[in-house]
Amino acid sequence: MVESNKDGSDMAVTQEGRSIELVLPSEVGYERVAMEGAGAFARMLGFPSERIEDLKTAVAEACLNALQHGNRNRPGAKVRVTLTFKEKAISVRVMDEGEGIVEIPDLPETEEAMIRLQPPRGLGMFLIRRLTDAVDFNEPTEKGHVVKMVIRREGCTSLN
């Protein structure tokens, strides 16, 4: 392992192209395995703590959607998570065995939910959108449905 500079640049160069893959059962709770794995991967690459937390939340929420909504908690169905480091960014692919997301809300239904005093929906996708630098919720593949996200080492993470 190469020591990193303050900004993690040396380590980033040596780790260029590195990739990890996790295969999860469709059971609530396993999203945290992916979350912690993603966090460890980003730490090795010298990502700052704020970006690591953004990545962990985005990965956890994408996996939760995949196992609950994509695979519908079916025993035997898998969620495959791949993280690849390239050009100062981590690309994440979360693949389930479902048919994709039919409706992607622009915003969580917070206002309406508050009036009706019911929990808002769509918060997971909303958080993914706001915490990542790029996201594609419906990448079609032959083997299943993929959510693709990109987190840059020096990213936005703004409140825009």
């Binding site: 704020e50 917070t110 508050m114 929990p119 918060l123 997971g124 409140l159």
Partner: protein
């Protein structure tokens, strides 16, 4: 009730202090319902939610938290939150939690300032 959600309530003067630790997820609904019954029974003027620094909160838990805050807010009670990590403070602003509750850096500040 989620076995991993631990919510307990105490009172300090006019305030109810609700301490939350463990996993706050969609499975925490019963724990929040119990907390709601507890603070209603004690007749407090305000509520401070104190999160354990190791608490794990996902979107399902945030949804329940927002619902809980909206219910308390409708009763015109003051709500404070403390113990949030820097990352969850950011998420709180993103999802609108801060529209219902004031976020304090420490329990002491929350207890001292909420009703002022």
């Amino acid at each position: 009730m989620s076995e991993n959600t631990k919510i307990r309530m105490t009172t300090q003067g006019p305030l109810a202090l609700i301490h939350i630790e463990g996993d706050v997820t969609a499975a925490s609904e019963a724990a929040f319902a119990q907390a709601h019954r507890d603070f209603e029974a004690c007749g407090s003027r305000g509520i401070v939610l104190e999160f354990d620094e190791k608490a794990y909160i996902n979107s399902g838990g945030i949804a329940l938290l927002l619902q809980f805050l909206a219910e308390v807010h409708r009763r015109r009670l003051q709500i404070g939150i403390t113990g949030l990590t820097e990352h969850f403070m950011k998420i709180s602003r993103l999802v609108g939690i801060t529209r219902f509750a004031k976020v304090y850096p420490s329990l002491e500040e929350a207890m001292g300032n909420l009703l002022n």
